[in-house]
């Protein structure tokens, strides 16, 4: 045999062998990854309640969704940063101010993270906070009503990603700027002057412990890096806030390369108790800025927007011992504190290990001044001096870590698309499960608190590919529920989610369900346009504004026949739902409105502004199937030419009468 033929045979054999190996290495059928009793564990029988509420960020939908666990059933989408025509949010006159900013009305944002309020480091079920990424904002959702109660804009910020992570008594929610930006009076500078002119800030927004009202307590002025995520210390580390920072290279272009050059970036620790002292000593600089503060009043059923003008800034140069940096490998993303508050887990997106820092060692290193120089004037602690240890070879692309009550951590790996369970004490990997696919955030009920409720872990994935029936180029986003009550994590359910889920929190249902609002009391309605009974229904003209004080109750409007509106008028339908019975909203819509519907809860008043564009008779009707005679719940409004003499009249079931 010639050498040539011999070579061919060798190659053929090798290829054959490769084919066999490749076949053997083909991924297992995905269904084999689900355990046999998964369906039973995730099954909540019809009419039965779920064990947990799961508050899930809607990502680029700008909303927050509420699911039940373990069923994965969707209960509600709470409009937060984006308009929601279904609920009239951002369309009704009462709700429009909620979306006001220093840039005017901004009807959309990108909601990434949820923080549930805590008392003594344990969920108290009062509020859910969420960040708006694009036009920096923080929202507070009232968990009695499942409605957005307050939104505050963050000045000196751009890309509010490192937010709203809460402290253990809900003293603060925080807002770290993802983008560093030029600040001060002249922000019109060349982008290439990044290193000279661009700065970062982290803002501490205080939360009133009685009513949840937010206020920017202070901002800390920082070098121009990117702040990514954060967690409050708890227990022994209460009083500190930890932030992951990347782009310590301070690149302003092609960050995927230019901000990935250094071996280590930082976990930044801010001592906010110390900051409070400096603030009390008057070390803060008052800066003139402009930011919107929007509050929804449950009595008037209306939002007000106020532009606030000052913010107090603390510069670490004037405030020693307030800010320290811990080196953390390769562009850290997640920065998570364990339930004891002793360990801080940094997740370098590009790192091959997971570093775990020790708060005790961190304090000792500060006391011993074990520094490794400084970064832009901020003291950098020695990596080895603050390190508890590293989880070796955990997976590829660690992102986020959640905790159970038994000293275990669960870290998501985006690149290797898996969740790894490891023990904090000895940093040993205990178990790993695949996710489908490319997991981002994780959620263990109570995972970020001092008291994890445990039992389940949910993975929020970025890619679903073949997991669901295809729906064109855009596929559903998804969550995967794992049972973590045993030693091994078991996949028990996939469920689709709205928008793109980022962080989520879960809380035992009875902490919230027992306080849920059923109706608004009509006698407490302080909306100036409320008609608290059919006798108060009326139509009034004020110049070219026509105000309709309308009532709705099963199954009619008062008034339901309106005449005398003229082209050029703006008609305000102030609709009061007179029902005082749970789960009986009424809707309202009028033909041709360049607007949305109203959805009015029992006892509430909401207003739709309508500018008719032509003459004629326009129908209006109830959009929420309220009763057996819902389809009869309708009326007409007549629009006449501007020059017409049609008198303004209104009625229901009687001869028209003259309006005032």
């Amino acid at each position: 045999m010639s050498t040539k033929l011999n070579n061919y045979l060798t190659i053929l054999t090798a290829m054959g062998l490769l084919a066999v190996i490749a076949n053997g290495c083909k991924p297992k059928n995905v269904s084999s990854a689900t355990s046999g009793d998964g369906a039973e564990k995730a099954y909540v029988a019809p009419g039965k309640y779920d064990e947990f509420y799961n508050f899930v960020s809607g990502g680029f939908s700008g909303q927050m969704s509420v699911y039940g666990l373990p069923s994965g059933r969707l209960f509600r989408v709470i409009p937060v940063f984006s308009v929601d025509p279904e609920k009239g949010y951002g369309y009704s006159e009462e709700s429009k101010p909620m979306l006001n900013t220093s840039h005017g009305f901004v009807p959309w944002d990108d909601l990434h993270h949820i923080a549930l309020s805590e008392t003594d480091g344990i969920h108290d079920g009062r509020w859910a906070f969420a960040n708006g990424n694009n036009t920096p904002r923080i929202a507070r959702v009232d968990l009695k009503t499942f409605r957005t109660a307050e939104i505050i804009e963050i000045p000196n910020s751009a890309g509010n990603h490192s937010s709203p992570f809460i402290t253990e008594n809900s003293e603060y929610v925080i807002a770290g700027t993802r983008f560093s930006v030029p600040m001060g009076s002249n922000t019109d500078v060349p982008i290439s002057t990044y290193k000279q002119n661009f700065k970062g800030t982290v803002s501490f927004i205080s939360v009133d412990k009685n009513n949840g009202a937010m206020s920017i307590a202070f901002q800390v002025l920082l070098p121009g890096v990117n702040f990514d995520l954060a967690r409050a210390g708890k227990g022994k580390s209460h009083g500190w806030m930890f932030f992951s920072c990347y782009n310590s290279e301070r690149a302003n272009t092609l960050l995927e390369v230019n901000s990935s050059q250094k071996d280590k970036d930082f976990i930044m620790a801010v001592n906010w108790k110390k900051a409070e002292e400096y603030l009390a000593q008057g070390k803060g600089q008052k800066q003139t800025v402009a930011y919107a503060h929007n509050v929804y009043n449950e009595k008037t059923h209306s939002a007000t927007s106020t532009i606030e003008r000052t913010v107090t800034v603390l510069d670490p140069k004037d405030c020693p011992d307030m800010v320290y940096l811990m080196p953390c490998p390769k562009s850290p993303h997640g920065c998570d504190t364990d339930p004891t508050g002793e360990y801080i887990v940094g997740s370098g997106k590009l790192a091959a290990v997971i570093p775990v820092f020790s708060f005790t060692k961190f304090q000792k290193a500060i006391a011993d001044k074990t520094f490794d120089g400084d970064y832009e004037g901020l003291p950098v602690l020695k990596y080895d001096a603050v390190l508890h240890g590293e989880v070796k070879k955990p997976g590829l692309g660690p992102l986020h870590t959640e905790f159970d009550a038994n000293g275990n951590a669960y870290t998501s790996f985006f690149v290797s698309s898996e969740v790894v369970k490891w023990r904090i004490s000895d940093l040993q990997v205990l178990d790993r499960v695949p996710t489908y696919y490319s997991v981002g955030h994780l959620c263990v009920p109570g995972g970020p608190t001092k008291k994890p409720w445990g039992k389940y872990m949910i993975a929020y994935n970025k890619i679903t590919k073949d997991r669901y029936l295809p729906t064109g180029p855009e596929l559903t986003q998804s969550a995967q529920l794992f049972d973590i009550s045993g030693d091994k994590m078991k996949l028990i359910l996939d469920f689709p989610t709205i928008g793109e889920p980022h962080y989520a929190e879960a809380i035992p249902a009875d902490l919230i369900s027992k306080n849920s609002t059923k109706i608004y009391k009509i006698e407490e309605n302080e909306n100036p346009y409320a008609a608290k009974g059919e006798k108060e229904a009326k139509v009034e003209r004020k110049g070219n504004e026509v105000h309709v004080y309308m009532t709705s109750i099963r199954s009619h409007f008062v008034p339901d026949n309106i005449e005398g509106v003229k082209l050029g008028d703006v008609v305000y339908f102030h609709v009061t739902n007179l029902e005082q019975d749970w789960d009986v909203p009424h809707g309202f819509a009028v033909k041709g409105a360049n607007n949305a519907e109203l959805l009015i809860m029992p006892g509430e008043t909401q207003t739709l502004a309508w500018k008719p564009d032509r003459t004629g008779v326009f129908p209006m009707y109830c959009t929420d199937f309220c009763s057996a005679l819902h389809q009869e719940m309708q009326g007409y409004i007549r629009v006449s030419p501007a020059s017409a003499n049609v008198p303004l009249t209104f009625s229901t079931n009687k001869a028209p009468e003259s309006a005032k």
């Binding site: 099963r554 199954s555 009763s627």
Partner: protein
């Protein structure tokens, strides 16, 4: 017959005074359950007022043309407080005098009062359930909506239950005690 025993007189006083509770608790209740109202709706009737989900019940009942329930609909609620006060005074009089004749009179009055009250309640229920608005959206031929006098009745999609409430049970209890006293005294005198 001679006078009743001291124990009976004390018991009688106790029973009469217990009726004072009827001023602080509803005496009757009507509960309504439907597929859409698994938690139920309730109307509670007091000596001088109505409480509970009266507005919601009115809202629902307008579909079948029933009148709006209100305090004005029940003139009885303007004088029941005095009637009950008189009844308590009567009971105390039995206790103070110890007259067994008066006790018998008390029992007969109670029985008569009970019958009249139920008749009156029936009359209201009949009118409320049959005297319907002819323009009502929902008309079911030959259907009356008279609430049950006592116990359960199915009214379209609603299961209606009519029964005494705390105040009512106390009044009934007081009368039962009075009756027991009379039986005891009667047998003793034989």
């Amino acid at each position: 017959m001679k006078k009743i025993s001291t124990t009976s007189r004390i018991l009688m006083a106790f029973a009469s005074l217990a009726i004072i509770a009827a001023y602080f608790f509803p005496v009757w209740r009507i509960d309504l359950f439907a597929p859409q109202y698994p938690e139920g709706l309730v109307m509670k009737i007091w000596l001088n007022k109505l409480t509970g989900d009266v507005d919601v019940i009115n809202g629902l009942n307008h579909y079948i043309g029933m009148k709006k329930i209100s305090v004005e609909m029940f003139p009885e609620l303007t004088f029941l407080v005095y009637l009950v006060a008189g009844f308590i005074a009567f009971g105390l009089a039995v206790s103070i005098t110890g007259s067994s004749k008066l006790l018998l009179g008390y029992l007969l009055t109670s029985a008569l009062g009970g019958v009249i009250a139920m008749y009156d309640f029936y009359q209201w229920g009949y009118d409320y359930g049959h005297n319907l608005d002819p323009t009502a959206p929902i008309k079911v031929p030959d259907m009356g909506y008279q609430p049950p006098l006592l116990g359960h009745k199915k009214l379209l999609n609603f299961d209606a239950y009519s029964m005494p409430d705390v105040g009512g049970y106390i009044v009934i209890g007081a009368v039962v005690i009075a009756f027991a006293i009379w039986v005891y005294e009667y047998r003793k005198s034989k």
